[in-house]
């Protein structure tokens, strides 16, 4: 800029600034420019997400090598979506969804690995097949409940599809946050798909006679133990001498604590008998208490809906949990699920019970994906056995339903995605993703030769998950579960910190009664009665005791 240009520039600037300051001639300009700027904002808002989502979709599709079991499962899912059979739910969903090409669906996922399936596989494939984009919203687990509620209260229509705990279904359905699927199912779905669910999971999205989602994650807890330790001759001899019985994978909770203590006494500090995720909010406490309490024949409520936690069964449960804690790795009460996995994979712990990804990680299958390389490589691959939980009644800890947001502006397109993603061939490919935390839940998953060939013991792993579901227990699927669960977590973690079990049980029972009264005793009584009808609501009312167990070999 030369001197003359500079003077012209400054003169022009001064004129403009003077005009603005004096406010004389340029109000119209001011208003015009303000209008222009306001107009540009929505345009920018439209352009930027469209551009970025296209860029992400183009970069994301991540198909496995076609010669691998996962690659074959993915190819089968694509074939079922494009070639049929024509009456298959995947094919029907894709055919119907093409009319919504260009629509974008917002769907919630637990932040992290759960969302990767949608980002890397399901989302890009669905977009290729139908032209429907997906906007992945990652939320922390509690926010998967609270955010949809908040958005519903604000009537924002922010979400189309929600990943929710089955236990939240009554609250979200009664609150109008989610919509029933029955009409869409009648129109689009091949009903035979329902028969492919393990019977424990089949009824989970049903509430007040309507279907409020598709079950999509078999979160059955199971026992994972070190076969080499249980087969060690020296340990077996020592155990037999001390207890006058053989060293075996424990079948009762008393045996579990005893065996864990024995292994710690023999092998610590190299290996400890057990480990648990006991950190407040982790959320192992509530699930562990629920499964042990009910395995001990504890009753949750009496006929008047008074909480029955403060009972001999409650005391027995907490005392046994304390004994297991004592036998565990140092820092047991500070562990969350990931820390516990790390301890087990490093060979520091002989027994853990946790969610199904434990089996895939222990075999080093999960770690084949870059996305999960923060988990240490397994030093126990090939040495891990799978068993149904001690006490014989494992908890189905959370799980996920895919639910349709009631405020969705694209309800039918959203439904069709849900039907496609949970259909047998597509859900198989999704549960086989190494980085996925989406666990097998269909009979076709448990029986899949492709899944069974993922690692040498995969067949045993799948059979154990099926057998666990046969005797498994469900979280309380009724309004207020969030509050009841929070009380359990507080109760357990306070006991770990030294509170007397009886006192903690009484405090938790009082909190449960307060929750029941807040929500209405009669309505809670009715909700609990409905929950009690579900298989898995108590140890006396499981899939097996109802004669519906699925035998598998």
């Amino acid at each position: 800029m030369n001197e003359r240009e500079r003077r012209d520039f400054e003169a022009g600037l001064a004129e403009e600034v003077d005009a603005w300051l004096s406010g004389r001639p340029t109000r119209r300009t001011f208003i015009t420019r303000l209008g222009q700027m306001m107009g540009m904002l929505p345009l920018a808002g439209l352009a930027l997400p469209a551009w970025t989502s296209e860029a992400v979709a183009a970069a994301a599709l991540d198909l496995a090598d076609a010669s691998t079991p996962l690659g074959k499962a993915q190819a089968a899912a694509l074939k079922a979506s494009t070639e049929g059979p024509a009456d298959g739910s995947a094919f029907r969903a894709v055919a119907a969804a093409k009319q919504y090409s260009g629509v974008s669906l917002s769907m919630t996922f637990e932040a992290g690995l759960q969302a990767l399936d949608q980002r890397n596989f399901s989302g890009p494939v669905w977009e290729q097949l139908t032209g429907i984009k997906s906007n992945v919203v990652e939320l922390s687990h509690p926010d998967q409940y609270s955010k949809p509620v908040a958005e519903h209260i604000a009537a924002s229509g922010a979400y189309d599809i929600l990943d929710i705990e089955p236990a939240w279904t009554p609250s979200l359905a009664d609150g109008g946050v989610i919509a029933p699927l029955d009409d869409y199912i009648a129109k689009y779905m091949n009903k035979a798909d329902f028969e492919d669910y393990h019977p424990l999971y089949k009824a989970l999205p049903t509430y007040k006679g309507k279907i409020w989602g598709f079950f999509d994650d078999g979160d059955m807890l199971a026992l994972y133990y070190r076969k080499d330790i249980f087969a060690d001759p020296k340990l077996k001899d020592a155990y037999a001498k001390k207890f006058n019985k053989p060293l075996e994978v424990p079948k009762t909770w008393e045996d579990y604590a005893e065996v864990a203590q024995f292994i710690s006494d023999q092998l610590a500090p190299n290996v400890y008998g057990a480990g648990h995720f006991r950190k407040a909010g982790s959320p192992g406490n509530q699930y562990d208490f629920m499964q042990q309490f009910r395995a001990n024949k504890g009753v949750l409520f009496d006929a008047d809906m008074k909480a029955q936690l403060a009972s001999p069964q409650g005391i027995k449960t907490l005392e046994n949990m304390l004994a297991a804690n004592k036998a565990s790795i140092p820092g047991n009460n500070e562990l969350d699920a990931v820390s516990l996995w790390a301890a087990f994979l490093q060979g520091k712990v002989a027994m853990i019970y946790s969610w199904p990804p434990t089996g895939r990680m222990a075999a080093n299958y999960s770690q084949s994906a870059k996305a999960i390389n923060f988990i240490p490589q397994s030093s126990v691959a090939g040495k891990v056995g799978y068993a149904v939980m001690p006490g014989g009644h494992p908890e189905h800890a959370t799980g996920y339903n895919k639910a349709l947001a009631a405020d969705s502006a694209n309800a039918e397109a959203a439904y069709l995605f849900m039907q496609w993603a949970t259909s047998p061939p597509v859900s198989l490919a999704r549960t086989m993703l190494p980085y996925s935390l989406r666990d097998p839940y269909r009979l076709s998953h448990f029986k899949s030769d492709l899944y069974r060939s993922l690692w040498p013991d995969a067949k045993d792993y799948l059979i154990n998950l099926n057998n666990s579901a046969n005797v498994g227990l469900l979280d309380m699927i009724m309004p207020g579960w969030q509050d009841y669960a929070l009380s359990l977590d507080r109760m357990c973690s306070s006991v770990w910190a030294g509170t007397d079990p009886k006192e903690a049980l009484q405090t938790a029972a009082a909190e449960w009664d307060q929750t029941t009264e807040r929500l209405g005793v009669d309505s809670q009584k009715a909700a609990f009665a409905e929950y009690s009808k579900l298989p898995g609501s108590s140890a006396d009312h499981t899939i097996e005791t109802m004669g519906m167990a699925v035998k598998m070999d």
Binding site: K279, A280, N333, A342, R490, S494, A497
Partner: protein, 311 residues
């Protein structure tokens, strides 16, 4: 006035535009202010009034309708032992945090008030924690302290020569010490920076005069430094206390309020009631109660601050 004759013609568009122009000319200052006023009404006044309404009705997601319930939401907070404990813990932790941070900040400021080689570098390192998100601070300290993977017990064991088995995040009183440690690490630099600014603004001639009078350094500190620094001390404590009573992030990450409810602060309690249990009315009533407590303390401090002048 001349009488009207003939019929009135309808106003011409040009006339309407002219009137509009005149009107906007007269009221232009209000038009300019209007967006800001509307924003304040929408973002501040409306939510405030809405929250008052919410605290007197049933606004619980799981209970249909918004029936008027009077003071029930407030009584649920007042008679909730967890709420009462959270308030006590908030007071204790805030007092401990601010007191320690003040002591350390003042010591650091006194040490750094004179120039020395490398002072700039040391100061830069000292204030780094101030710029880290409290969530990250909480995560970092949790990783350091968590058994069995965190290195803290191992390092302490090496220092003292025997095994250290402290459960920093679940064992009383260590869990409180851990929370204070994380807070002090992050916020001492805040005290340090403000007090250092105060120290550098004290006129040096006061110290020169004291030196001529043979006053020793301790007396100079008590008679000159502390009185001169008084307003800045009050300012730093007020600002820091305002923030400390909202302690949430590090608790959320390090202890999740546990074990039991041992580390529930008021903020964590309100978050849990509001956004884990979704009892919005109770949480809102609790927020108002907490606000009243806070306002009482803060208004006292601010009044002192406004009335204080350097001696």
């Amino acid at each position: 006035m001349a009488p009207h004759t003939g019929t009135l013609s309808p106003p011409r568009p040009a006339g309407a535009l002219a009137r509009l122009s005149d009107w906007s000319e007269r009221h232009f200052k209000w038009l300019l202010v209007a967006p800001a006023v509307l924003l304040i009404l929408a973002l501040s006044v409306y939510p405030l009034l809405f929250s008052v309404w919410v605290s007197f009705v049933n606004y619980d997601f799981q209970i249909p309708g918004h029936a008027f319930v009077g003071l029930k939401n407030f009584s649920m907070v007042v008679f909730d032992p967890v709420a009462r404990w959270s308030l006590v813990l908030t007071v204790l932790l805030s007092a401990a945090n601010v007191a320690i941070e003040f002591g350390l900040g003042l010591a650091l400021a006194l040490a750094m008030v004179r120039t020395f080689p490398g002072r700039g570098l040391v100061m830069s390192i000292l204030i780094v924690p101030l710029f880290i998100s409290p969530v990250i601070v909480g995560q970092a300290w949790a990783l350091l302290l968590q058994r069995p993977f965190g290195p803290m017990d191992y390092v302490l064991g090496k220092i003292v020569g025997h095994d250290v088995t402290i459960s920093w995040l679940t064992q009383t009183p260590w869990l409180y010490i851990s929370l204070i440690l994380a807070d002090v690490w992050q916020w001492t630099p805040f005290m340090f920076v403000i007090l250092l600014a105060g120290l550098t603004s004290i006129p040096p001639n006061l110290y020169e005069a004291a030196e001529l009078d043979g006053v020793d350094s301790w007396l100079a500190f008590r008679a000159i430094t502390l009185p001169q620094l008084g307003p800045m001390i009050l300012l730093a404590i007020t600002f820091r206390l305002l923030d400390a009573i909202k302690l949430f992030d590090t608790i959320f990450i390090m202890t999740a309020g546990g074990p039991g409810t041992k580390t529930y602060t008021s903020s964590f309690y309100l978050y849990t009631v509001g956004f884990t249990q979704f009892h919005l009315s109770q949480a809102t009533a609790g927020s108002w109660i907490f606000l009243i407590f806070t306002a009482a303390v803060v208004s006292l401090l601010v009044r002192r601050l406004l009335n204080t002048e350097p001696a």
